[in-house]
């Protein structure tokens, strides 16, 4: 039996007069992996950032496991609510956003210690586990400035995982990386897929999307133009706009 795990209903968002999301509906089941593709400015990052209230919707609802994320509450209660639900939603950014003043260990243990009251020993154990998972245990006492881009992103993933999130959001996690460093990050994401982590992935990597995702959404100008399994979206898309986008994208990437 499948269950709606992440649910976005009638999502709309405007920045002033500019409408960046128009009536979007999306349901992600537990353990599902959904890729969102589309040209820049299509609203795909905004949609992702709406899920954890980084860019709150103008109207519509976001639900996670039966809890509405974007509840309208008085300021204080809203902050409390949001801080609570965000613990369940891991996010990985294009530019890593590791804390440069903390070591890798500090980056990973900061939030679990502060928010979940873990002892130093527990937090250290957690950091070691997560780093082992992303293959960077030997970097535990390094500062982020000493890591390569790929390593930084793997630490950022470990940091997000340390909060034991129910869902992971990836916002172009490999777009800022040198081509030869993309694979190591993709490997970690594939591994998460095998562990049935629920993931929503905004990406430009069609091959990656095709190989790990259960479902692909193509967005353009604030709407979901087409969605379906990767085999359909990438091989036999119905919509003209999807075909155009994929053609241009393939031409640009020489493949």
């Amino acid at each position: 039996m499948t269950s709606a795990f992440v649910e976005i209903k009638n999502a709309a968002k405007s920045f002033g007069k500019l409408q960046v999301l128009k009536d979007i509906n999306l349901t992600v089941d537990r353990g599902q992996i959904v890729a969102i593709i589309g040209p820049s400015g299509s609203g795909k990052s905004t949609l992702l950032r709406a899920i954890n209230e980084l860019d709150p919707l103008t109207s519509g609802e976001v639900w996670l496991e039966g809890v509405q994320i974007n509840r309208k509450l008085p300021h204080r209660q809203y902050e409390k609510h949001v801080n609570q639900v965000r613990q369940d939603i891991g996010m990985v950014f294009q530019h890593f956003n590791l804390f440069p003043h903390l070591t890798v260990r500090g980056n990973i243990t900061l939030a679990p210690r502060m928010l979940k009251g873990l002892s130093e020993a527990e937090a250290n154990k957690l950091a070691e586990e997560q780093l082992t998972k992303v293959g960077l245990l030997e970097k535990i006492d390094e500062y982020p400035s000493r890591l390569s881009g790929g390593q930084k992103q793997r630490v950022a993933i470990a940091r997000a995982l340390a909060m034991k999130p129910k869902v992971m959001l990836f916002d172009e996690a490999t777009s800022a990386l040198d081509p030869e460093l993309v694979e190591e990050v993709n490997m970690v994401m594939k591994q998460l897929a095998e562990e049935h982590m629920t993931m929503i992935i905004v990406t430009h990597e069609m091959d990656f999307a095709a190989s790990v995702c259960d479902r692909v959404l193509f967005m353009d100008q604030g709407v979901v133009v087409e969605e379906g399994p990767p085999s359909v979206i990438f091989k036999t898309p119905k919509e003209e706009r999807t075909r155009n986008f994929l053609r241009k994208h393939l031409a640009r990437n020489g493949g």
């Binding site: 965000r86 950014f93 804390f99």
Partner: protein, 215 residues
């Protein structure tokens, strides 16, 4: 150049230099407090606090420090606030430099990449936790040098309190000129002592800045 005179009077100048140092330290402390409050107000969510912060900064940066000192010292008693010259000097200069420090601190805090805040908030940290554990530790490092510039200005600015007759370096020089008629020697001596103070403080700032730098 009358070296004999300099040798004779310099112990009195050292004493005066000590007053200048005391003024500088107390003014720095008050300035940092006013600066932190001013910066917090200017970045507050509350529009009223933001307006208060902005007004504070524009008043104290927009008028001569000497006028501010005069208001505290000469104007105070008129509205029932009695301050001696030293107190008026510390408060006047401290509140004044605080307005500059507020802008320095705000600048440093706002120069921390927005992605840092987003990453922390995404993990579930509150605004305050994010400020304390992620933004401030990075901003502090960035504000050491510009705050050093503020402190440098403040030390030189303590000369203004001679105008309300605090017996510090500048006032002492003026007093000895009155009895010796040797302005060149007296001002040179006080200038040299200012320079030593500023040099030492500058080295301290450099040391702090080096220590605080991220690997």
């Amino acid at each position: 150049m009358d070296f004999e005179l300099i040798l004779r009077v310099y112990p009195f100048f050292l004493e005066a230099a000590w007053v200048t140092i005391e003024l500088s330290v107390l003014t720095t402390i008050l300035g940092l407090i006013c600066g932190a409050l001013g910066a917090a107000a200017r970045m507050s969510r509350s529009a009223i606090l933001r307006a208060i912060g902005a007004t504070y900064v524009s008043i104290f940066r927009g008028t001569p420090a000497l006028i501010q000192l005069f208001i505290f010292y000469f104007g105070g008693p008129q509205i029932g606030i009695q301050l001696d010259a030293f107190e008026a000097g510390v408060i006047g200069l401290g509140v004044n430099i605080g307005a500059y420090m507020a802008e320095t601190m705000r600048g440093a805090i706002q120069s921390v990449d927005k992605g840092q805040t987003e990453a922390a908030r995404t993990l579930g940290m509150s605004r305050w936790e994010t400020m304390r554990k992620v933004v401030l530790p990075q901003a502090m490092r960035m504000m050491i040098r510009p705050l050093g510039v503020n402190i440098n200005a403040l030390i030189k600015g303590t000369a203004l309190v001679a105008a309300i007759s605090v017996i510090e370096l500048t006032y002492t020089a003026q007093r000895y000129i009155g009895s010796t008629y040797k302005p060149f020697e007296m001002f040179l001596l006080s200038g040299a002592l200012y320079m030593i103070i500023i040099y030492v403080v500058g080295q301290g700032i450099n040391w702090l800045d080096r220590k605080a730098r991220i690997t």
